[in-house]
């Protein structure tokens, strides 16, 4: 009974913190993109616009909820819930610190891959259930993009799992801490680049956001959704961004540890709690997401699929081959 309540408390804490971060990431995105475009971003609501997410949230509650006439009512209503639920389940296997994990599974990496491929269903069903040609086309495009880049994601992670020898996320971080450079990003630089590009494509973010760009198919599979359902899709997209950031920080950047040569030079860095280093790495990756969105133009859909199949998969296989050869001859 006691451990059940403790687990409930931990789950609430994790979900609360991540959802607050998601709300303020929307604010941070508008500010950073505004500054990149030589303007200020939101400044009205609260000091420097800090209460903007709260104002957005209250506005969404008061909007009218429209369900299109000839759509499949049940599937239309379930689709955003499917995407959100299958994306938030991934949060349970992330180790935020040495002793703080919700579910210490021996298959953490596979679970995240499995639920990433299940959340594609919400997108396909949302596009189809809206009973509109443009939504349907946007949904199919988005789904084929996510499915194509899943393979590249899996290949880059296969290099990391092979080097660490386990699928458990804690063991991957501990194995990284024992290497001389402290991170897997530096020896496996090809894998790291493949993972970053695949992470951009998996979450439908720029420069791969053709399915939901406003100049393209209105809003793709999200067109017919209004008010709270749109907020659910939005939430799911930002939580997916955070999952990819967590994943990158754990598998490639060292998680809650810092490289051993840095603690040899500055011994005081050892006293800093691990979750602070984790937060720094995650924030850096989210800033990369926002920075790339402000800077790069988007790809055409056939260019997008070309990159996924013809460039990233050979690069991932090359990375896996290099890791396998290095590990076999114990270099």
């Amino acid at each position: 009974m006691m451990e059940f309540l403790l687990m409930l408390l931990k789950t609430t804490v994790v979900f609360g913190i991540v959802l607050t971060h998601v709300a303020y990431t929307t604010y941070a995105e508008r500010k950073v993109i505004g500054r990149a475009q030589a303007r200020m971003g939101p400044m009205e609501v609260g000091p420097h616009g800090l209460l903007q997410p709260i104002a957005d949230f209250i506005k969404i509650f008061f909007k009218e909820d429209i369900v299109p006439a000839n759509s499949e009512k049940l599937i239309f209503q379930i689709a955003p819930i499917i995407v959100l639920v299958f994306t938030m389940v991934n949060l349970t296997v992330i180790p935020f610190d040495r002793n703080f994990i919700l579910a210490d599974l021996n298959l953490g990496v596979l679970l995240i891959l499995a639920f990433a491929s299940l959340s594609v269903y919400g997108i396909i069903l949302a596009g189809w259930a809206s009973n509109s040609r443009y939504s349907f086309l946007g949904g199919i495009r988005s789904a084929s993009q996510v499915l194509s880049y899943e393979i590249a994601l899996g290949l880059s992670l296969a290099g990391v799992v092979l080097a660490a020898g386990s699928l458990n996320l804690k063991d991957i971080v501990i194995a990284q801490h024992n290497t001389p450079l402290g991170m897997y990003a530096i020896p496996q630089i090809i894998g790291f680049i493949v993972f970053v590009i695949a992470a951009f494509a998996e979450t439908n973010r720029a420069p791969f956001d053709l399915p939901e760009a406003e100049t393209e198919l209105v809003a793709g599979y999200l067109t017919e959704y209004s008010a709270f359902r749109y907020a659910l899709f939005f939430l799911a997209e930002y939580v997916a961004m955070y999952i990819m950031a967590f994943f990158c920080a754990l598998c490639f950047l060292g998680g809650w540890t810092i490289p051993k040569f840095l603690t040899d030079i500055f011994p005081i860095l050892d006293k800093v709690p691990g979750i602070l280093w984790f937060a720094v790495k995650v924030y850096a990756f989210i800033f990369l997401y926002i920075w790339v969105r402000a800077t790069l133009p988007r790809y055409r859909f056939d260019q997008l699929l070309n990159i996924g199949w013809k460039v990233l998969i050979p690069a991932g296989i090359l990375n896996l081959l290099i890791v396998a050869i290095v590990k076999r001859f114990s270099l």
Binding site: L110, L113, S117, L118
Partner: protein
């Protein structure tokens, strides 16, 4: 406690597969099939096969069923009219099928095991399910894995050739 959970899974899997094959709209059939595969993944977890549960979700529920869904969308199959749903002589086929069901259930429940291998639950808990599967798979069945790769390459070519439209 575990009996109640297993009873739920038994009844729900039988119910879901019955619902999946009797829907008029093929998209609903595929969605009920997705639910069946998720239940089967959980029953694999009951049976200490966690790697297989994840592979089932990634491959079956995440790739094969998406392929099904795309095909069903592409066909745009309207609802089938009520009087043309079953083949001719369907009563006879149903009776033969039910008789086969009774024979299968009666035989399968009477199987007695006489062989005990080395991968007991303690062994698998010590080395981890993925490592146990991987050790046997890549040492004894390495050639079969390479052939599985070729077996999966050929349908890729076949699909493009078969569904090619000469427009």
């Amino acid at each position: 406690m575990i009996y109640f959970i297993f009873a739920y899974f038994c009844l729900s899997m039988i119910g879901i597969s019955l619902i999946a094959i009797t829907r008029k709209n093929p998209v609903h059939s595929v969605l009920w099939l997705l639910l069946l595969f998720l239940h089967i993944a959980v029953v694999y977890l009951f049976l200490n096969a966690e790697f297989l549960a994840m592979v089932q979700i990634i491959v079956y529920a995440g790739a094969i069923l998406v392929m099904f869904l795309f095909t069903v969308f592409l066909l745009g199959a309207k609802n089938i009219p009520k009087e043309k749903r079953y083949t001719n002589l369907w009563e006879g086929r149903l009776l033969v099928g039910l008789a086969l069901t009774a024979i299968f259930v009666a035989i399968f429940s009477k199987i007695k095991l006489s062989f005990k291998g080395i991968h007991t639950i303690e062994y698998i808990e010590k080395t981890g399910n993925v490592k146990a599967v991987g050790t046997v798979l890549f040492n004894e069945y390495a050639l079969s894995i390479l052939m599985l790769g070729i077996i999966l390459l050929i349908p890729m070519i076949a699909v493009v050739v078969l569904a090619w439209r000469k427009t």
